[in-house]
């Protein structure tokens, strides 16, 4: 019987080992980058029925967040405004603009505008908007610079790790309560830390890391 396998076959285990190591590292790196919300969710920007621009309304006109999301400081839910809120102005301004047709239809028929939801927490997560904005966590911390977006996009990963980062160390994200809805407010990083720590202490912010804080 001749040898069934060529001589280089004996080096196969080493080659296979090296290959496995390399491909394993590549797969891990790929999954780490492409399969995490940092890649898969950040940047999500669906086409909305009406191309509503936060930049125009907030930055140029100076609307407060709570003019439309009126319950954000009172309830767990930052509500989407009903068309009547839009119609407060748009019954006069751009009253016959084609882009606003869905709003007017909705206003007449009572059917809600089919906005596409961008930021969503999983079913098993309980998130309370009021408790965050009333204790100095600005909209910007989770939603990014909404005031600069012509159309809203998913800006932050909003993973559990994202929540935990802040719950472990809330100081960098706490600002004076009157500045929570001022989306352009900035602070010197060195001062911010001291200020955040003081707020956390004064307002008794105990950002809990227990499972049942969010999973109830």
């Amino acid at each position: 019987m001749a040898n069934l396998y060529p001589r280089w076959f004996n080096r196969l285990p080493l080659m296979a080992g090296a290959g496995l190591l390399l491909s394993g590292a590549l797969v891990t790196a790929g999954a780490w980058y492409y399969l995490t919300p940092k890649y898969s969710r950040v940047g999500y920007q669906p086409v909305q029925p009406v191309p509503y621009s936060h930049k125009t309304h907030v930055d140029q006109l100076g609307l407060d967040c709570r003019y439309c999301h009126s319950a954000v400081d009172k309830s767990w839910y930052a509500n989407i405004p009903s068309p009547s809120v839009c119609m407060n102005c748009h019954s006069q301004v751009l009253a016959s603009d084609a882009r606003l047709a869905p709003i007017r239809d909705s206003f007449k028929s009572g059917e809600p505008v089919p906005w596409v939801q961008i930021h969503r927490t999983p079913d098993f997560v309980y998130f309370n908007h009021a408790v965050h904005v009333n204790r100095g966590v600005s909209c910007v911390s989770c939603h990014g610079q909404i005031n600069e977006m012509v159309e809203v996009r998913h800006e932050k990963p909003l993973t559990m790790a994202f929540c935990l980062d802040c719950h472990r160390n809330p100081a960098p994200n706490l600002r004076p309560p009157e500045e929570v809805y001022n989306l352009r407010w900035t602070n010197d990083p060195a001062k911010q830390l001291a200020m955040g720590k003081k707020f956390a202490h004064d307002w008794k912010i105990m950002s809990s890391q227990n499972c049942y804080t969010c999973h109830r």
């Binding site: 069934l4 004996n10 196969l12």
Partner: protein, 664 residues
């Protein structure tokens, strides 16, 4: 015979013939016959019975997959589980299959350590059965989590949730126990297969078949230096598997007993579960092997004596199980706990009385028939009883899971659990998966450890009077007329001599060693006891690899759990400490075994320099019989005392035949 003790022993008369141990293979069959008969099952035309069994199995298997697909796409609502019975057939079936998986490792590990040589005829099939049963078992926990695509969260893999598994939960220990068990069983099984895959390689006529078997045989050549390390690694794996097999079902029982439910919260659970697992495992081994030995014509290898011995194991473990049932009742009465007493009364006389009494009659009463030798040796009765054992053990898990859950502490929570058709079809389907895999195993892999059986027949013991008996049967065509390869013009590698019996090869090995050779080796179809001493080999170093693996596993376990649950993400659960070596122990224990097993196998490969598919010795046309019935000695040219004429003469005087110069 110079020592006084030996002198004393020699005066004891030999036992009368009727008390002598019967050989394990009947009719004094030789090495060649064993290879031909066992390997023959996987060769040649596929028998009709195989197709008759295979088609329905495949259909059942497909049904199982369909049901799993339906469940995953729809949700666990398609099952009968609901309040108050939240753990239904999924957990029952999981424990049932895991229990069945215990016989394989018991036979291959514990019986090996206890020097029960009859295990050689049944261990391969039982190990295969173990692996397939654990695969069936693994389906259920994976799909019962509801969102099966998140089942990987059970493993300590970094994820974007920044959270780690919670190691205080016995369910977590279970993940580690079962996956370690599966991995170690697979390693053990594959390692045992390597010499037999080499046999299959050398027997195969077809080129592709030969190549595939050869690939998985990793270049095994039966070298005694390899056997020495191989046997050490096998012993170490057996030593690691023994505490493993006992721990797996103990940990499965913790899933129940750590909770505070009457009927589950008992200290008797671990030993009771382990005994039950071995009981059900042997039941399944008998159910499979009794038909297989007839269909594959292996009556002379898997003898009635083997069946009888397994019957005795069933009797012993069945009695332990019965004793455990009685103890549970006694403790329920003696503890004075009204909930406990209610649960047990409810088991026997409540709405599920029928399940309880099926369990008792199958598990406690049926095996008592094995007290009678007439029953143990009547294969039809043993087969029927083994099926009863399987049924009874399924009902045991049903009784434990369902009767404890369906009566909650508050009567307003009481309910009656029934499975849905999806539950039933999924479970029936797993039998299809199990049988499909087992039938494929029968057709493609030697179902009995050929090399191990050869080592326990009288001819395999060089000191036995029968060891000088020569093989009379002619080898198969593929082996006898090994086509000569292209004439090699490579430089000479060594002198190869052939021997016919184990007694000859041992004597010859002693002669070669005494002649002062160093770079030489003996090649045998099976490990010959005493050959290491004859060759003057020192003790194998594989143990160091195992030791390092084990230490690494234990430290990894402890450090990992401390890092994940106490340091990186301090996980407060139930007011328990963030880290304690007590709750970290089960997982660390499993990892000790897992890493130790990898250490043994890798150590064996490293020390043996395997895999090594290309070797000059394979250039010899006679050498393939080394995996069949012949023994060889090779003295390499680079040996210090090598001299072609003198070495050839040495091998001739030692009794070597067909001496040839092997070239590279």
């Amino acid at each position: 015979m110079t020592s006084p003790a030996a002198g004393l022993l020699s005066r004891i008369p030999d036992p009368p013939p009727e008390l002598e141990r019967k050989p394990l293979v009947e009719n004094l069959r030789g090495f060649g016959w064993i290879s031909d008969r066992i390997a023959g099952v996987a060769e040649g035309k596929t028998p009709t019975w195989w197709w008759v069994a295979f088609f329905p199995s495949v259909l059942l298997m497909l049904m199982c997959f369909t049901m799993v697909g339906y469940l995953v796409s729809t949700g666990v609502g398609v099952w009968g589980v609901n309040h108050p019975v939240g753990w239904g057939w999924a957990i029952i079936n999981f424990v049932f299959w895991i229990g069945i998986g215990h016989a394989g490792t018991l036979i291959s590990a514990i019986l090996f350590l206890l020097r029960q040589r009859w295990r050689t005829a049944v261990n391969r099939a039982a190990e295969a059965m173990t692996i397939f049963a654990v695969m069936c078992a693994g389906i259920f926990p994976a799909i019962h989590v509801g969102r099966a695509w998140f089942a990987w969260w059970l493993f300590p893999i970094p994820n974007s949730n920044n959270i780690w598994p919670q190691f205080r939960s016995p369910l977590m220990w279970d993940v580690f126990a079962v996956s370690t068990y599966f991995t170690v069983s697979l390693l053990f099984w594959y390692m045992g297969l390597i010499p037999d895959l080499a046999t299959m390689r050398d027997r195969s006529a077809g080129k592709i078949k030969k190549w595939i078997y050869g690939f998985f045989a990793l270049g095994w050549m039966g070298s005694n230096r390899h056997w020495s390390n191989y046997e050490k690694a096998y012993l170490l794996l057996a030593g690691l598997s023994t505490p493993l097999v006992l721990s797996v079902h103990s940990i499965v029982s913790f899933d129940f007993s750590v909770s505070q439910l009457p009927g589950w919260h008992t200290t008797i659970f671990p030993p009771y579960f382990v005994a039950g697992a071995i009981f059900s495992g042997f039941g399944m081994v008998l159910t499979l092997l009794i038909p297989v030995r007839t269909l594959c014509h292996l009556e002379e290898v898997i003898t009635v004596r083997h069946i009888e011995l397994m019957g005795k194991v069933i009797l012993a473990t069945g009695s332990i199980v019965g004793y455990a049932y009685a103890t549970e009742f006694f403790i329920a009465y003696y503890s004075g706990n009204p909930y406990e007493l209610f649960t047990f009364k409810n088991r026997a006389f409540g709405p599920y009385w029928w399940a309880y009494w099926i369990m008792v009659s199958c598990n406690v009463i049926c095996p008592q028939l094995f007290w009678f030798k007439k029953v143990r040796t009547n294969l039809v009765i043993v087969f029927i009883l083994s099926i009863f054992v399987n049924i009874g053990m399924w009902f045991e898990r049903f009784v434990i899971v369902v009767t404890s859950l369906h009566r909650d502490f508050l009567p307003s929570n009481w309910g009656y659990y029934s499975p849905t058709i999806v539950d039933i079809l999924t479970f029936v389907g797993t039998f299809g998966l199990f049988l499909t895999l087992f039938l494929l195993f029968l057709r493609f892999v030697p179902l009995i450890a050929i090399a191990e059986v050869k080592s326990v027949i009288p001819q395999g013991d060089p000191d036995h009077p029968l060891a000088k008996q020569k093989e009379t049967a002619a080898p198969s065509a593929a082996l006898a007329s090994g086509e000569p390869g292209p004439v090699s013009n490579g430089k000479p590698f060594g002198l190869l001599a052939e021997f016919e019996t184990s007694a000859d090869i041992k004597q010859a090995a002693i002669k070669v060693r005494v002649a002062g050779h160093k770079t030489w080796d003996v090649f045998t179809p099976f490990p010959i006891h005493g050959m290491d001493d004859a060759m003057g080999l020192r003790d194998s170093r594989v143990g160091w690899f195992t030791f390092c693996g084990g230490v690494l596993g234990f430290t990894t376990g402890m450090l990992m759990i401390w890092f994940m649950n106490a340091f990186d993400y301090p996980l407060a659960v139930g007011g328990k400490p963030l880290f304690s070596p007590v709750f970290a122990f089960p997982v660390s224990y499993e990892l000790t075994i897992l890493f130790g097993a990898f250490g043994s196998l890798l150590g064996m490969f490293i020390v043996n320099r395997l895999p090594r598919w290309h070797h000059p010795i394979f250039n010899s046309t006679r050498f393939p019989r080394v995996t069949h019935d012949r023994f060889f000695i090779l003295i390499e040219c680079r040996d210090g005392k090598y001299d072609e004429a003198r070495t050839r003469q040495l091998l001739e005087t030692a009794g070597g035949k067909n001496i040839e110069l092997v070239k590279e």
